[in-house]
Subunit: 465 residues, 2 copies
C-alpha cells in the first residue's frame, strides 16, 4: 500500500477544519509524540492534530480516506505496545482535548463521555454521586478511549471484568467518515452481529471511537484489603488458585514481590507498612455490609494462615494504609522502569491454574539468559506483567536476549493455553506472537474484517494484524 506523502494542500485543508493552535506540523512536533510509554518503537507523524469534536474527526477521516493518508489515533500515550505510534507517518489524531463528560444518567446508570476523558477523572466524577465504574487499570492517567482501544483490564477484573464489560454503547467514525452508533443505553442487545465488541480492543484500526456510554453500578459501601505476607514467592503464588476457589469472590488478587515493593518505596520516596517480607498477596473485598466483608475476611484469613503457609494477615482498612499499599502497587511499572536503562514487557494471560508453573519457568529463564526479569501481576486473573531489564547490557546483547527470551516465554504460554495479551494489546510490538498463537486462518479472518471496515487501510496501519 502506497500512502500519500502529505503536502501543503493537505495542511491547508486540515487548517480549515481545526483551530490553528490544534494543528502542529512535522518540524514542530515534540519528541513525546513519536513514541508511547514503553518507547520500544519510534515514528513521527507528518501532522499532529487535536480535533475538538466529532464533526471535525468525520471531515479529517473522510479527507484522509480520499487521499490515502494514514491516521493513527492517540490518547494519553500510555500504551506499551506501540499502538499509538504513527509507523506510516500521516496524521496523528490526538483525542486528548476531547475530554468532556456529556451526560450522567442516574436512572439508566450510564455515563456518556468523550474519548479523551482520563480514567482517574471518571472515578472522581461518578463516585461522588454514589456510582461505580469498576475497571481499574494500573495507569490512571490513560484515557477511556485508550482503555477501549486495548480492552484494558486492571486490578478489579477478578470480580468485575474488563473494560469491554462496562461499555454499553459507542459512537464510531468509520474509515469513510460516516458516524455510526453501536449499542446505546440498553442493558441487553441481541440485534445483529456484535460490532461494538469488535471495535473494543481493535486499537484504532477499525474505526475512531468518538463517544462512549459506560455502564455504572451502585458504589460498594465498604471495601477492605488484606496484605498477606509469605515466606517465599512460590508459596504466595501457589495460594492464589486456592483463594480464588474458596468461594468468596474477591475484588482483586494481586501478587507482590519484595523487590517490586522496594522499587516502589524508593520510587515513591516513602516507607510502605509491613513491607519486609519476601512476597505477598494483596486481596480486596467490597460489599454492602460490614458483616459480609467480615465473613469473607474471616474465611480467607483462616485459609491463608492455617492451610497455605501465610506468615500473617494485615488488614488494610484505613484510608491512609489503603492509599499507601495501592499506590505502591500502582507504581510498580514506573519503579521498574526507573531501576534500569530500558525495559520490554510480556503481558501474557494464562489459565489461573498454570501461573505457579509459568513463573517457575520465568525464573529459570532469567538465570539461563542471565538477565533480570522482575514481574508482578493480576494473579487472580492469571495475567502477568513480566519485564525484561536491559541494565548494563550492550544493545546487541539486549536485542539477542530479548528475542530468545520472548520467544520462549510466549511459546511456553501457548503450551499452557495462554494468550499473547491479557490487557495491553498487540499494537506493533506483539504482532508476530499473535500470529503464532492464533494461526493463519484466524489472522485471515481478522484481515478480512479489517478490509471490510477500512478498505484503504488508513486507520492505524501495521497494527494488530
Amino acid at each position: 500500500m502506497n500512502y500519500k506523502i502529505m503536502d501543503n494542500d493537505d495542511f491547508v485543508f486540515l487548517k480549515s477544519i481545526v483551530k490553528e493552535e490544534n494543528i502542529i506540523l512535522r518540524d514542530d512536533i515534540e519528541e513525546d509524540f513519536s513514541h508511547d510509554e514503553l518507547q520500544t518503537v519510534y515514528a513521527y507523524p507528518e501532522v499532529h492534530i487535536y480535533p475538538t469534536d466529532k464533526k471535525q474527526i468525520q471531515e479529517i477521516i473522510k479527507y484522509a480516506n480520499k487521499y490515502k493518508i494514514p491516521v493513527t489515533t492517540r490518547g494519553s500515550g500510555t500504551g506499551l505496545v506501540g499502538a499509538c505510534v504513527p509507523i506510516k507517518g500521516g496524521i496523528l489524531l490526538d483525542l486528548s482535548k476531547m475530554n468532556q463528560f456529556i451526560e450522567l444518567d442516574k436512572i439508566n446508570m450510564t455515563l456518556r463521555l468523550e474519548p479523551g476523558v482520563l480514567v482517574m477523572d471518571i472515578y472522581e466524577y461518578v463516585e461522588k454521586e454514589g456510582l461505580f465504574y469498576a475497571p481499574d487499570p494500573g495507569e490512571k492517567s490513560a484515557t477511556i478511549g485508550g482503555n477501549i482501544a486495548t480492552n484494558a483490564g486492571g486490578m478489579r477484573a477478578v470480580k468485575y471484568g474488563v473494560t469491554r464489560d462496562w461499555i454499553r454503547g459507542l459512537e464510531v467514525v468509520l474509515a469513510n467518515g460516516e458516524l455510526v452508533k453501536f449499542g446505546g443505553k440498553v442493558v441487553k442487545n441481541s440485534s445483529g452481529y456484535d460490532l461494538k465488541d469488535l471495535i473494543i480492543g481493535s486499537e484504532g484500526s477499525l474505526g475512531i471511537v468518538v463517544e462512549a456510554t459506560l455502564k455504572l453500578i451502585p458504589l460498594p459501601r465498604m471495601t477492605v484489603s488484606l496484605l498477606i505476607p509469605f515466606e517465599n514467592k512460590e508459596k504466595a503464588i501457589a495460594a492464589v488458585p486456592e483463594v480464588i476457589t474458596h468461594h468468596t469472590l474477591p475484588t482483586a488478587v494481586e501478587f507482590l514481590e519484595n523487590d517490586a515493593l522496594k522499587f516502589s518505596e524508593s520510587y515513591l520516596g516513602k516507607k510502605i507498612p509491613n513491607a519486609d517480607y519476601p512476597a505477598y498477596l494483596l486481596i480486596s473485598y467490597d460489599g454492602s455490609t460490614q458483616d459480609e466483608i467480615d465473613y469473607n475476611v474471616d474465611i480467607i484469613s483462616k485459609l491463608c494462615v492455617d492451610d497455605l503457609g501465610a506468615i500473617d494477615v494485615y488488614l488494610v482498612d484505613t484510608e491512609e494504609r489503603k492509599q499507601s499499599v495501592w499506590s505502591a502497587r500502582g507504581a510498580f511499572l514506573e519503579a521498574i522502569k526507573a531501576s534500569t536503562t530500558m525495559i520490554d514487557e510480556c503481558d501474557v494471560v494464562l489459565p489461573r491454574s498454570q501461573i505457579t508453573q509459568y513463573l517457575d519457568f520465568t525464573r529459570n529463564l532469567s538465570e539461563e539468559l542471565d538477565i533480570r526479569i522482575p514481574y508482578f501481576g493480576h494473579a487472580g486473573d492469571g495475567n502477568l506483567h513480566i519485564y525484561f531489564c536491559k541494565d548494563n547490557l550492550s544493545d546487541i546483547e539486549w536485542e539477542e536476549k530479548l528475542k530468545i527470551g520472548f520467544d520462549k516465554l510466549y511459546t511456553k504460554a501457548f503450551e499452557f493455553s495462554g494468550m499473547v495479551s491479557g490487557e495491553h494489546g498487540i499494537g506493533y510490538a506483539k504482532k508476530e506472537y499473535l500470529r503464532k498463537q492464533l494461526g493463519e486462518k484466524q489472522i485471515q479472518l481478522m484481515k478480512g474484517i479489517k478490509a471490510v471496515f477500512d478498505p484503504n487501510n488508513i486507520l492505524n496501519p501495521e497494527k494488530v494484524i
Copy 2:
C-alpha cells in the same frame, strides 16, 4: 445465490459420516423440525442430521461448502424468530445429541461442554459443586448452543449480565470446515479482534459452535425473592427505575400482571400464593450472608411501601414458595400461547427510564387496533416481551393488524433509543426491523463480515441480515 438441490450422491456421502439412525431424509422428517417454538415460519430441510462429534461436523460442512448446500443449525428449537428454520432447505444440523459435559475445572472455575447440553442441566451439574452459571433464560430446555447463538439473557441479567458475559471460549467450525478456537479458559484477553463475541449472537450464520467454555462463579449462599403487589400496573412499572437506582443491586426485577399470573395458574393447574393483586414486581437478591440480604430487603421494602405505593411486600423465602412463583413466571409464554390461537412477539429492549412511557404506548395501541396485547418482561433490564394474540381474528385481519402494530411498536422503540431485540435475536422474522434500526451502513458492515466468514453463504442463509 443458487444452492444445490441435494441428490442421492449427497445422501450417500452423509451416510458415510454419521450413523444410520442419525440421518433422516426429506420424506421421513417430522413436522416438528420444520418450525421453531413460535411457528411463524415453516420450511423443511432436505436432510435432518444428528452429528455426534466435531469431526463429523467438520466433514459435513466441508462437503456442504464444496457443493453449495445450505446448513441450518438447530438445538432444542425453542427460538422465537425462525432462526433454526431451514428456509433454503439443505441440511438441518441438529446438535441435540452432542450433549456431553467435557470438563468441570474447579481451579479455573470453567465448564467445557458440547453445544447440545440443556441449560437446565448446566444448573444441576454445577450447583451441586457449589458453583454458579448465572444466565437464566425463561426457556430452561434450550441448549447452551442456542443460548450462545442468540446471546440469550434471562431473569438474572440485571446483576449478572447475559450469555455473552459467561462465555470464556468457543470452538467453532468455520464455513470451510476448519476448526478454530476463540478464547479459552483465560479470564482476560486483548489479543486481536474479538472473534468470540462476533460468533456469539450470530445465530449460526458465521460458524458452528461445537464446544463452549463457560465461566462459573461461587454459588451465592443465599437468595430471596420479594413479591410486591401494586394497585395498578402503571405504579408497578413506574417503581422499577427507583428500585434499580436505590443502590441495592438486585439479581432480578421482573414485572408481572395479574392477567399473566392467571394464565399461568390455569396453565400450571395450581394456585399461586398472593396472586390476587392487579400487578407485581418480583425482585430477587442473592448474597453470602443473611445480614447482607436483610440489608437489601429492608431498603427495598421500605422504599416500595413508603414511597412507591406498593400494597405490601411478600417474602418468597421457602423453597416451595420460590418454586411456585418462579415457575409461574417461567410459564408466561406457554400460558399466553395456550390462551389464544396464534401469537407473535416483540422483544424490544429500551433504556430502563423509558419503559413506563413505552408500555402506555403499547396499551393505547392495543385499544386502537382492537387486539389483545399481553406483555411481561425483564423490567429491570428494560427488556419487554410483548405478545400479539390472534384470538378470533381472521388470517387477513391478523396479518394486517400485526404488520401495523409491529411497525408502530418498533418505530416507537427506536424513537426511545431502543433495539429490535434484547435477547431473542433477529432470525428470519425481524430482519426488516433490524435494517430500519441500524441503517444501511451497519447492515453493509455485517454483510461484509458474513462474506469474510462464509463466502458461499451456506451457513443459515437468509437469517439476521
